[in-house]
């Protein structure tokens, strides 16, 4: 359609002048839209360039210039590990529930309410992250304290259940809040794909005497496998970059294997807490940490897109 050219009507004088003006206006508008595209290009290039340029001082600085008196990599490593642990626990908790909810909406809920249920789950996605943080800080964290005490008393021999926190503001709480936050993302992605499962596949399975669960295992899951994986990756991307929930919920400290006590930190929380007061080398450190986060989320998102891309080719054949 974009190749369609418009030939102005042959007419002398007035019409010809208007034709020339029209051609110019077309060219101007084309240039405008192209300019917007280029602007996005420039902004992203600037973001990357800026992050890299500002990070170089911290990355090459001598250990005694860094706030922790170690090299930058020693400073950022525990943050990266903390971020990854929080996101992975969130994924582990969230994925089975999210897939279950998606199945509920697509296959189990009575047809009358399944649309409404979808709206309700979307509602969860609409709640701002700071409200999740406030909830984890004031309601969920304190509510988990007895559970943490119980875990420590009964499973205390496992290093991850060390001395319990008395406020409930721990990495495990933060991970669980993250799990709630990424649940609607994974659910809506999975739901879309579950619904697309060809009805013929499902009916064929049922006609062979499969129970509903047999049918789901035989027709829905194989069809949706890539989609589920990419949904999980998108959820991971969100969990990695999530700032406020962790900043509010987590009572920060050094990296420790104890998930139910004080300690651990993530990159976004570190930046949000320290950047407003930071200057000079400290600022550079935080921006470098931001760059590390950017690269990690970039990789995760790219893998997700790649899987989605493969998936769309596959589903196009159906």
């Amino acid at each position: 359609m974009s190749e369609t050219t418009v030939t102005p009507p042959d007419a002398p004088g007035d019409l010809a002048r208007r034709g020339a003006a029209g051609r110019a206006s077309d060219r101007i508008f084309n240039g405008l839209t192209l300019g917007a595209g280029i602007l996005i290009f420039v902004v992203l290039a600037l973001v990357t360039l800026y992050l890299i340029l500002q990070s170089i001082p911290a990355m090459t600085a001598a250990p005694d210039q860094i706030s922790t008196k170690t090299s930058f990599w020693t400073y950022v490593a525990p943050l990266v590990v903390g971020t990854l642990i929080a996101s992975l626990i969130a994924l582990l908790v969230s994925t089975p529930v999210a897939v279950g909810v998606a199945l509920f909406i697509s296959h189990y809920a009575p047809a009358r309410i399944s649309k409404g249920v979808g709206y309700v789950i979307d509602l969860l996605a609409a709640i701002p992250s700071v409200v999740f943080g406030a909830w984890g800080f004031t309601v969920f964290g304190p509510g988990l304290v007895p559970a943490y005490r119980w875990l420590n008393e009964n499973l205390g021999f496992i290093p991850i259940f060390g001395t319990p926190s008395t406020t409930g503001r721990t990495l495990l709480t933060a991970s669980l809040v993250l799990a709630v936050m990424i649940l609607p993302i994974i659910t809506s992605q999975c739901r879309e794909i579950f619904i697309q499962t060809p009805a013929l596949h499902q009916e064929a399975a049922l006609a062979l005497g499969a129970t509903k669960w047999d049918m789901i295992r035989a027709s829905v899951f194989p069809f949706a496998r890539n989609g589920i994986v990419s949904a999980i990756m998108l959820g991971l991307g969100r969990a990695l970059g999530e700032t406020m929930a962790v900043t509010l919920v987590l009572s920060r400290g050094a990296l420790t294997p104890n998930l139910i006590g004080v300690g651990n930190n993530t990159i976004p929380a570190e930046i949000a807490l320290n950047f407003p007061e930071a200057f000079g080398m400290r600022q550079s450190e935080l921006i470098a940490a931001g760059l590390v986060l950017f690269i990690i989320t970039f990789l995760v998102n790219m893998i997700a897109r790649w899987i989605v891309g493969r998936y769309s080719e596959f589903s196009g054949a159906n």
Partner: protein
Amino acid sequence: MSSTATPTSNQDPRPQRSAGPVNELTAGQLPRWSRPVALAAAIVVSALIVLLIGWSWVGFAVIAALLFLIGYAVWAYVTEGYRHSLDTFWGTLVWLAFFLALVPLVSIIWTVVSVGGPTLIKPGFLVSDMAGVSGLQDAAAVKGTGPLMGGIGHALIGSLLITVAATIISVPIGLLTSIWLVEYSRGGWFTRTTTFLVDVMTGIPSIVAGLFAAGIMLTFFNWANNGVSGGKHIMGITAAIALSVLMIPVVVRTTEEMLRVVPNELREASYALGIRKWRTIFKVVIPTAISGIASGVTLAIARVIGETAPILVTAGVATSINWNLFSGWMMTLPVFIYRQLMNPTAPAAPQPSTDRAWGAALVLIIVVMLLNLIARLVAQRFAPKTSGR
């Protein structure tokens, strides 16, 4: 969906066993009333157990769920066999997953409404700011000798100004980019790169967007003032730039989708009348897709209005109303919630601060929900007619 997949009623979604040689001993199915009966039994037994070991709602719910899950599956195993008990087991798990997902949602909404509601209806909460509110007054409020002072007026104005500025920046850029992608581009390397970059932008962590905006403005002010910016880069418009970085990809994506579904026949009809391409886009393509675009933009606004981290590092925090986007620190609703919780006005008596935070959270949630609702209504009401008139 389920109705097309299974030829059974709503109460009993399991497929009927019909074909095959009928074995008198195993052909039996669970009766219709089996599910409510099993559920009731599980609840009663669980209540008894929890009463014996000490009452707690969480323990009661967990034990009831486990009892129902296992008991109902075992019942199915006895009457219907292994395959059907597995079906029952997983079916119950799927239902439980749904109720589990509802727990945090209900808990959050309940907390926000029950704690934030009383604060919200305090006179002046929506219009007054936090200027002059000190720990002394908060301590008095806790003792009951003074009213709950302060409000979210400054945060409301900050949120409004910054979000409007971000919308003004990102909507034209996003709209023009998607028009270029759909109407003008011919699928060359630049198109592919732009699509790729928009994807990358979607994944930028919000805090990184904040870092970028703060950094760019800092560099600019350093350059303009010979290396001494004096913190002048912390202002509303910096936050608006940070939010635009988050908003543009959302606008591009939704608009692109909407423009692509505009039927080509409409464009060709317009060209056939000798209309210029840009006029075709303005008069035919965009009006056809406007409902989708509007709802996409509204959703993008709903997304960025709840952002905290990028604003914290770009606009700072303030206690009084600031109408000027281009000078001075600014408060927004999410940052207000964050500050009230993390740095209570009276550290020894944090209750008033917590109350204010939840009041602000209630306002924020109402705003976001309204925006979502508007988006949905706009998409439905002004959707282009799909059938002839």
